[in-house]
Structures are given as C-alpha cells and as structure tokens.
Subunit: 191 residues, 2 copies
Amino acid sequence: MKDLLLAHINRHISLTNVEEEEFKGIIAEKKVFRKSFLIESGVMVNELYYVVEGCLKAYYVDDLGNKHILQFAIEDWWITDFNALHNNIPAELYIEAIENCTVLAISTVALEELYIRIPKFERFFRILYTNAFIALRKRVMSSLHRTNSIRYLEFFERYPNIERRVTNYHIANYLGITAESLCRIRRDLGM
Amino acid sequence: MKDLLLAHINRHISLTNVEEEEFKGIIAEKKVFRKSFLIESGVMVNELYYVVEGCLKAYYVDDLGNKHILQFAIEDWWITDFNALHNNIPAELYIEAIENCTVLAISTVALEELYIRIPKFERFFRILYTNAFIALRKRVMSSLHRTNSIRYLEFFERYPNIERRVTNYHIANYLGITAESLCRIRRDLGM
DNA sequence: CGCGACGTTGATTTGCCTCAACGATTGTGG
DNA sequence: CCACAATCGTTGAGGCAAATCAACGTCGCG
C-alpha cells in the first residue's frame, strides 16, 4: 500500500530503509467512498493526498452556483487544495471521490519537520512541484490557444487512463465547455 | 545588483554570509537589449533567469506561425523555458526583451551542485515552484471559467506594474483574445 | 518624410452557449 | 425483481459573444 508511494518517491531520490520507515510514520491511509468528500470548501486544509486506488475530482463552485472541475486524480496522482494548504486559508475547493478510493494522507506539519531531518524530501517535493508547474503551463497553452476539438484530444493524451472512469459531462466541465458541445465534437471526430 | 536577488531569497530561507558568497559565485549578470532574445526556439537551455531590471515576454509560435505569449516578466520575476530546462530538450519558447533588461543567469548544473552542498537552496526552490504552481492554477481557473472582461481586470490585479510597459496587443495575446476584442472590452469598461 | 506599429471602429461570419426535448442507461426503493 | 427516478448522451433551434476582415487615424522612429 505505502510501497506504491515509496516506489514513486524513489524514482526521484534514494531513501535508506531507516528513512523509508520514518516517512511511513507520517502517512496515514484513508478510505473515501464514492460521492463523499476529502475536502470541502471552507474547511482548513493540512494534508496532501496521494491516490493509491480510485478516482477523484477537485472543483470549485462560483458565485452563480456552477461547478468547475480543476483537476482529476487517479492512481499515482497527488491532490489537495494546494492554495489553502500552503497559505493556511480555508479551502476554496471540494475534493470528491468519483469512485471508492484509497488515499495516503500526509500532514504538512509532520512533513515540515521531516524536511529538516531529511532534506532529501525537500528535494523530492521540489522536483514534484516543478513537474506539476511545467504540466500546468502546457495546459495553459492548450486552453488558451487551441480549438476545443484539439483540446479534447489532448485531454486523452494527458489522461489516457481516465477516459472510461469519468463521464463526458466531467470532461466537458474540466475543459470549460458544455456537455452538448463536447458531444458534437465527439460526433464530428467520429467517436 | 545581486543583492536584490539575495533579498528575494532571504524572504524564504536564511543564508549565512558564506552561503551568500557561494551563491553569488554561480550567478552571472547579463544585459539583454530590447527586441533581442534570451532564449530562442530550438536551442538547448541550461539557465534560469531572474529579472533585475526591464521587461520580457515568453512566447511560442504555433504551426500556423501565430505567436502566443505565455508569460511576462519584470523586476523580481523568474523566467526561462522551464520545460526545456528541466527535461533537457530544445527550447520551444522564445524569450524576448520588451525593454532593455538586466537579468541574473543561474546555471542549473551549478545549481544542482549547490543543492548538495547547501540543501537550503533546495528548500527555496521548492517554495518558489510551489508558489508558481498555485499561481498557475488560479490562472487556469480564470482562463477557463471567467468572461474576457473579468479576465482583463484580473490581469491588472496580477500584474499591476505591467500595464504601461506592454502594449494592449501583448495583453490581448496573453489572454488568448484578439486585439480588437480587447479594445472593445476597454471601451465598454470606460477605459 | 514615410513607414510600420498601435489603437480603434464597423460589418460580417462563426463557433459555442442556451434552451428544449427525448431515448438509453444506471441506480434505488418498494 | 420490478418500477420509477435520476443521470447521461444526443440532437435540434435560436441567439450571442468573439473572431475575422477591412479600413483609418495617430504616434514614434529610422
């Protein structure tokens, strides 16, 4: 269970057995059932989540009550309300399970202490956030300057394993277009 | 000159005089004149740039030859082709000076060595990339789910000091809309 | 001076949203 | 296990916001 996460981490840094054990001490397994929430708007956030199994979505609700999906997460992905977590402000996002999930929760307070004892973790998260930043820049390029049809195809390249696990409505929402438009795009693409 | 950068870094970590001197050793001052390039598409990238003075833009050119501005940078901002830098692939972006600039160049090879000697820098860049990631998520939310008029106003909140330094054409391009549309938005807002 | 970059306005087109309807599928409670 | 409700995918009609295309005045610069 926690080994999946350790393998993920060891792709970027090398941990000794002692360090692995110490890290295991600050992570806790959580089950989240379909339609229930890991984070709800307004709460304080102090954990980062790594998905071991299942599928979740992060969305916010605007002034008009419309939901907007910002991120999906499946196995081997990270999710939380990063803005709330790092700036110690109440969550703006809802993080809801689309399937029954198993996640590993990491308390940032414990993580901060760990950074001091084992700076290698600082390195790991530097690399992780750098990669996340780069991936988001690609998404900005895609969302601003490409047709919706191409953006739909790019979605599948980026999330090849999500297609059958979320509805088209979800994908349309993530792309910022209506479900009807997405349906017509799919028709025109012969899908 | 380099003190501006050290002050920037010391907002997140505390460096001793010795560490500051060591860091100064891996940064080099560069002048970039208006309309000249810090990075051009196709070249290999091995430096990160901190802007001491001036204004630059990062853009890419699509298959149809259209430019798309991804980022501006002014004093106290960082800029480079992060994807090319971190994945050791040729640059996709052009980084061009809009004004005559002074930047500080940090070689990532030297930086990697510094991370090992002084892990505090790993911490600094972890925090820097985390903040950049969070800021980009806000931009994604803005670009996908808000009207162009609101996005234009949000641009000024985010870049309050850029308004008089770049043309409306640049801003429109950054927002992914046409200059004509932006002009009409400005008219309707009474600007 | 003359050229090019920039900002602005108008006319037309177009892609997407909105609203509405309906069949298929899934889920749920009696 | 069936009946009914909710969700999902799909299609059509109509409208709107922004793109496109075109034109023109202003400004700064070589």
